[in-house]
């Protein structure tokens, strides 16, 4: 029997882009068997937009009672996909337009990488471009020390340690073994934590021939130097989550390096003392915060 692929899109108040995202997924050269859209309790006209897909048997809408952040949304969507029996789960944000052969190339690249490495690959991700065709600064995957190993074999796949949740293909095996993303993270670093966690037996790959476009307002990466009172809530989650991960699951030196780097970025970015103090509090909160992953149930 052919493997079943379920795409998972998490959305929150992004009605202007969501339709194009879903249409691009449904028009793949290697069709998805299921498209699960997790509506994180949107307050705009997202439900009306989604009702257009009512007649498409491939589309399943999961409407959450409250906004659980990207982490909660991806966890819910991946859990649903796993319970529906998906062999592969392809996850992305609600502003990610997929090239028509993105999935086909991801599956092929994943299989090729497994053959080249002689082991299972925990996930694979696409190359993420910005709307002008340049690299998307926010979604650069982290390369391994031997990132070119598969390229040397003639493949167009790069070995990576982590990536963001923008077009990531996750085999069922990784979910069965390592569980779901941490809902408690809410937002920020949930993707890093997850891709690092499921890489316990070896790194994932970025498939350069699989391309998606991330339609962000501005093409720039973020760091703690960008912190301001308006966006602080997001950074505070980031500080707690990364501190928790580095302290509990990485090593203490990595935690220290994270603290120093964060401080340096804030100083360089001219972040005020009050905000710095709030970040410091969240970093300390991370030492106590250590949520455990939920495992998915086999239903089908």
């Amino acid at each position: 029997m052919t493997d079943q692929v379920a795409a998972v899109v998490v959305t929150y108040n992004r009605v202007d882009k969501l339709g194009r995202v879903l249409d691009s997924i449904l028009a793949q050269t290697r069709p998805v068997d299921r498209l699960i859209v997790v509506d994180n309790a949107s307050t705009d006209s997202t439900p009306q937009l989604l009702s257009v897909y009512d007649d498409d048997p491939r589309v399943e809408i999961v409407r959450l009672d409250s906004n659980t952040g990207g982490a909660g949304g991806f966890s819910a969507g991946m859990e649903r996909a796993y319970e529906r029996g998906a062999d592969w789960v392809w996850i992305m944000d609600d502003d990610c337009y997929t090239d028509e052969n993105a999935l086909e190339k991801l599956l092929a690249g994943h299989a090729e990488a497994e053959a080249g490495l002689g082991r299972k690959v925990p996930y694979s991700c696409s190359l993420v471009r910005y709307t002008d065709g340049s690299i998307c600064e926010m979604n650069n995957a982290g390369p391994t020390w031997d990132w070119g190993r598969l390229i040397a074999q003639g493949q167009r796949n790069v070995l990576i340690t982590n990536c963001s949740f923008v077009s990531v293909l996750i085999p069922r095996r990784s979910i069965a073994k390592y569980g779901l993303p941490l809902v408690e993270y809410f937002i920020w670093f949930d993707d890093m934590e997850y891709t690092l966690r499921i890489s316990a037996e070896g790194p994932g790959v970025q498939v350069l021939d699989s391309v998606v476009t991330h339609d962000m307002p501005e093409n720039r990466g973020v760091n703690f130097g960008d912190l301001n009172p308006g966006n602080a809530w997001k950074f505070l989650y980031g500080a707690r989550n990364e501190s928790s991960y580095r302290w509990h699951h990485d090593d203490k030196l990595a935690w220290l390096q994270f603290v120093v780097t964060t401080y340096a970025w804030m100083v360089k970015g001219g972040v005020g003392r009050r905000l710095q103090l709030r970040v410091a509090k969240q970093i300390l909160a991370g030492l106590k915060f250590d949520p455990k992953p939920k495992m998915a149930r086999s239903v089908r």
Partner: protein, 541 residues
């Protein structure tokens, strides 16, 4: 009279009933005697046996093979029932000693069923455990479940037995009995009541229907009450007592391989046969091997771990639930193409059953249906019932339907928990359908399960199911009605959810609807009987 295959001719019936007519033995005892004589006839072809047949008191296991049959003294509580003389009809390839072989065959007593719980065993340790278990059943269970959690999360993942290496080169046996009767070897614990045994007996019948001789091996002590089942008519049943000598084992294995044309081996629950699969595959790689796996047992590893350990000698693992398929393929890296999911269910009955009408004015009724055994935890159901009764003003009625080893404890706890006025005890042969027709909610409190057949039955009768989240119950039961296995958490969550269901018929209907949808999804998978019949057809070639 036994209708099992006989590998001997009766020289002197001795009143045993082997040759028909009056018998001093029950049908079960004749089945055991035939099994024992078949075994000895097979490993000593052409020989003539004089067997003294003993009967033991109730609760004593039979001794039909191995060392005990060659010892010419017996316990004082054994009675000599008869003496029989038979001659093996298994073809011989060399000259045979004409001297009689003396045997002592102890048929044991009635009510000697295997699988005694830890607290039923003799000894001081068991006595202490018994006191703790029956003195404080919920607290004791909390400790047991804690231990299971520890095994599941900490020990079992780090204690993987090495997998047997693949059999790289094997040529068929030089002189296999190509012309022998096509046969399938089955491995079971015992021939007595049990979910795996029920399925094993069905597969034996399927093999016979497909034209094979079923050769049924058991490796655990039991009185084998199911030896009289009609599915075993025409089968060659060999109830073994282990350990056996190396010489005897070699004789048995070679006899099986050379006297029959063994086309396949289907292991259900039989550790001895599991461990001999590599030998069979190495001797003749044409023999197909398959095992049927039912549940993951976290504390002992159970047969699932054994199946994984010997996976390289097994052509196909038949699993009955999505959870087991995922465990084998995703957690234990058994190749996907060697794991077949084919659930066991009675879906036709589900479709055919009429929807029950609730009697007007009937109080909300919660039922427990199942064996009164440790695995099903009836004591936990009773504690939950007591807690529910205390915490609701609404009238609620309970039915506990079943029989089994914990019947006495169950009756005692009904009184102790103050449930006598609102709980009805029912037992077989009263129909389960009657109980379900009287129910709004079925509660499954087991600490382990595969796919519960009662959930299929309940769904057919419009009964919502609330279950512990164990095994593959998530494949049948609504996510809204799955509760933790740990007893204290179970009581708390189950009471809360029951109250929510009592308060909302809409919620109850949603739960039943999800059960229907999940059953429909399972129905898309191949059914175990069809899958097995097809498998055996393939073994004919």
């Amino acid at each position: 009279m036994s209708r099992a295959r006989k590998l001997f001719e009766v020289v002197d019936d001795g009143g045993s009933g082997l040759a028909g007519g009056e018998s001093r033995l029950s049908d079960r005892e004749i089945g055991l005697l035939v099994g024992a004589l078949n075994y000895h006839s097979l490993i000593q072809p052409g020989r003539e046996f004089k067997a003294i047949v003993l009967r033991g008191p109730g609760g004593e296991f039979p001794r039909l093979t191995g060392y005990a049959c060659h010892r010419h003294e017996w316990e004082p509580n054994r009675t000599v029932v008869c003496t029989v003389q038979v001659k093996s009809t298994v073809p011989v390839t060399a000259a045979v000693d004409s001297a009689l072989v003396p045997l002592v065959l102890d048929l044991g007593g009635d009510r000697a069923e295997g699988g005694a719980m830890y607290y039923d065993r003799p000894g001081r340790k068991a006595m202490v455990l018994r006191k703790a278990r029956f003195g404080a059943p919920i607290a004791f269970d909390a400790l047991r479940q804690g231990l299971t959690d520890y095994y599941e999360k900490r020990l079992t993942p780090n204690r993987r037995p090495p997998r047997i290496a693949p059999i790289e080169s094997a040529v068929p046996l030089q002189n296999p009995s190509e012309n022998g009767e096509p046969a399938i070897i089955f491995g079971l614990h015992w021939l007595e009541m049990g979910g795996a045994e029920r399925w094993a007996i069905e597969t034996i019948a399927l093999a016979r229907e497909a034209g094979f001789l079923p050769i049924v091996l058991t490796d655990r002590e039991s009185a084998h009450p199911w030896i009289v089942r009609p599915e075993l008519d025409g089968a060659l049943v060999l109830p073994m007592n282990l350990p056996m000598s190396d010489e005897e084992e070699s004789e048995l294995l070679l006899a099986l391989l050379t006297k029959f044309s063994v086309r396949g081996i289907h292991v259900h629950h039989n550790g001895w046969l599991y461990h001999r699969l590599p030998w069979f595959k190495a001797m003749d790689p044409r023999i197909r091997t398959v095992d049927s796996l039912h549940v993951i047992e976290w504390r002992t590893g159970g047969f699932v771990e054994l199946g994984v350990k010997l996976s390289n000698a097994i052509d196909m693992h038949h699993v009955i639930s999505p959870q087991l398929r995922d465990y084998m393929v995703l957690q234990r890296d058994v190749p996907k193409e060697r794991v077949s999911l084919a659930p066991l269910y009675g879906l036709n009955e589900v479709e055919a059953a009429p929807k029950a009408e609730k009697h007007p004015g009937r109080p909300f009724t919660v039922s427990f249906v199942g064996r009164l055994s440790q695995q099903k935890r009836p004591y936990l159901f009773l504690r939950y019932a007591a807690q529910l009764k205390r915490s609701t003003d609404q009238e609620v009625r309970f039915i506990l339907h079943g029989s089994g080893a914990l019947a006495e404890e169950t009756s005692r706890l009904v009184g102790k928990y103050g449930l006598a006025d609102c709980l009805e005890l029912r037992e077989p042969p009263r129909s389960v359908d009657d109980t379900l027709a009287d129910s709004d909610l079925l509660v499954i409190s087991s600490d382990n399960e595969g796919l519960t057949l009662t959930t299929f039955e309940a769904t057919a009768l419009d009964v919502a199911v609330l279950s512990t989240d164990v095994g593959s119950q998530a494949s049948l039961v609504s996510g809204k009605a799955l509760v933790p296995r740990q007893p204290l958490a179970f009581i708390k969550e189950a009471v809360e959810r029951t109250k929510a269901i009592m308060a909302s018929e809409e919620l109850r209907e949603q739960i039943v609807e999800e059960q229907r949808q999940k059953i429909a999804a399972l129905k898309e998978l191949p059914e175990a009987r069809e899958w097995t019949a097809k498998l055996y057809e393939g073994w004919k070639a």
